[in-house]
């Protein structure tokens, strides 16, 4: 614990850091117990300042909204402190590619993918995104596989949604705004078709938000983002 580390811990707790600096410091908090202890020390010492916040009664519908969302398994984006790019899978393995390609090209009604002896059409061109839940989760997060040739996109598993809500899939270009790829059918392995013009690019992000029935009315995600991951070439 250097003197600079001590200051950094204080800066994090006081809130002086930019989003990027805070994200880096949070990462160190996760990785380094000594740094975490220093952050906690500051949190405890500065806690009396919390008394200075005035109480303001929130509108009554907030409680109802929260109640309604308690059943959604993994709500809440950690966007600002979550480096999305770090969620990426990294290099995928060739043998896996062929398997996944087979699975992707298997009609949705067939539940067991048949491992092919020879790889089907152009597996090398497939795109893949290992999604990660945006908050702690017990179930494994879905992997999205896209065949640019046909526009077929499939997820290895679905997303739990409360009644009257639906998962909506988005592509988020680097430095750009989310673009809807469509609503996810309630299915163990949801598949959708994406128009050629709407295919996600390598390096862009795929994300799933929870929206009201019929999808986001604004053209942008309005509900919580429950999973996200970066698109890679397989």
């Amino acid at each position: 614990m250097t003197p600079d580390d001590r200051i950094l811990a204080a800066e994090l707790v006081v809130g002086l850091l930019t989003a990027e600096e805070a994200a880096r410091a949070e990462q160190r908090r996760t990785d380094e117990p000594a740094f975490a202890a220093e952050v906690e020390w500051w949190e405890t010492r500065l806690a009396p300042l919390l008394d200075r916040y005035r109480e303001v009664t929130p509108p009554p519908y907030i409680a109802a909204r929260i109640e309604a969302l308690l059943d959604v398994p993994h709500v809440a984006p950690r966007a600002a402190r979550l480096p999305w790019r770090s969620l990426s899978l990294g290099a995928a393995v060739g043998a896996l590619a062929a398997l996944i390609a087979a699975w992707l090209l298997t009609p949705a009604t067939v539940t067991t993918p048949v491992p092919p002896v020879s790889a089907p059409t152009a597996p090398a061109r497939l795109l893949i995104a290992q999604l990660a839940w945006t908050d702690k989760a017990t179930a494994p997060a879905p992997v999205a596989v896209v065949d640019p040739a046909s526009g077929a996109l499939r997820l290895t598993r679905g997303v739990d949604t409360p009644a009257g809500r639906v998962g909506e899939l988005w592509r988020i270009p680097v430095g750009g705004k989310p673009v809807s790829l469509g609503l996810l059918p309630r299915d163990a392995a949801p598949a959708i078709r994406v128009a050629q013009a709407n295919l996600p690019a390598t390096g862009s992000t795929l994300a799933i938000s929870i929206e009201r029935r019929g999808g986001s009315p604004t053209g942008q995600p309005t509900g919580p983002v429950v999973a996200a991951g970066v698109v890679e070439r397989l």
Binding site: P3, A22, E43, L50, E55, L69
Partner: protein, 192 residues
């Protein structure tokens, strides 16, 4: 956290119990946590986000986080209000630092008037021995860094925000505050 034998022990214990029960999926207990703390946490979200709509969204997110993370709360380590308020503050800071918030955050000058608000007696939840120690140590700092640290904490201001508000170059502001943080740490660490 200290606080043994204070009058606040009753509510503190009740809230800690409700929070612990929430971790088992007890919705009634979770509702109690909300009722006891929503006004406090909404006050935090509102002040840092500076905007009602955002503050409502953040508050909602905060309680969903609380619902899922209640099991990680350790009653022996922190006051439940501190634990909850820290989550609310951090989520509000995240929102304030996010691209969504740019241009939407409250005018810092407007917020300045409230910076030195003393805590209301009936809203004094956390303080006690710790509060007096912090007050003493803050009082020993020069006025400018004291003000800067307090408003950075309460309003969610970054170094750049504080520098802009005070009208001091960013590197100067940083070194003033850093020196003050070192002094503050020495003072708070002084187990006299």
């Amino acid at each position: 956290m200290t606080g043994n034998g204070t009058q606040a022990d009753g509510p503190r214990a009740a809230l800690a119990a409700a929070l612990t029960l929430s971790a088992t999926g007890d919705r009634e207990a979770f509702r109690r946590v909300y009722e006891l703390t929503a006004a406090k946490l909404f006050g935090i979200c509102l002040r840092i986000c500076g905007e009602r709509q955002a503050a409502e969204d953040v508050l909602q997110e905060v309680y969903l986080i609380v619902w899922r993370r209640a099991a990680t709360y350790r009653p022996e380590r922190s006051h439940p209000v501190t634990w909850l308020a820290t989550i609310a503050r951090n989520r509000s800071l995240d929102w304030r630092r996010s691209p969504r918030a740019r241009g939407a955050v409250a005018d810092p000058v407007e917020a300045e008037e409230t910076v030195d608000d003393a805590p209301l007696a009936d809203q004094r939840i956390v303080a006690g021995e710790d509060g007096r120690r912090l007050d003493d140590c803050m009082d020993r700092l020069d006025e400018r860094p004291r003000h800067a640290i307090r408003s950075a904490f309460l309003d969610g201001l970054t170094y750049a925000d504080v520098a802009l508000r005070v009208g001091v170059p960013l590197p100067t502001m940083k070194s003033i505050i850093r020196r003050a943080l070192i002094r503050l740490r020495e003072c708070l660490n002084d187990d006299a």
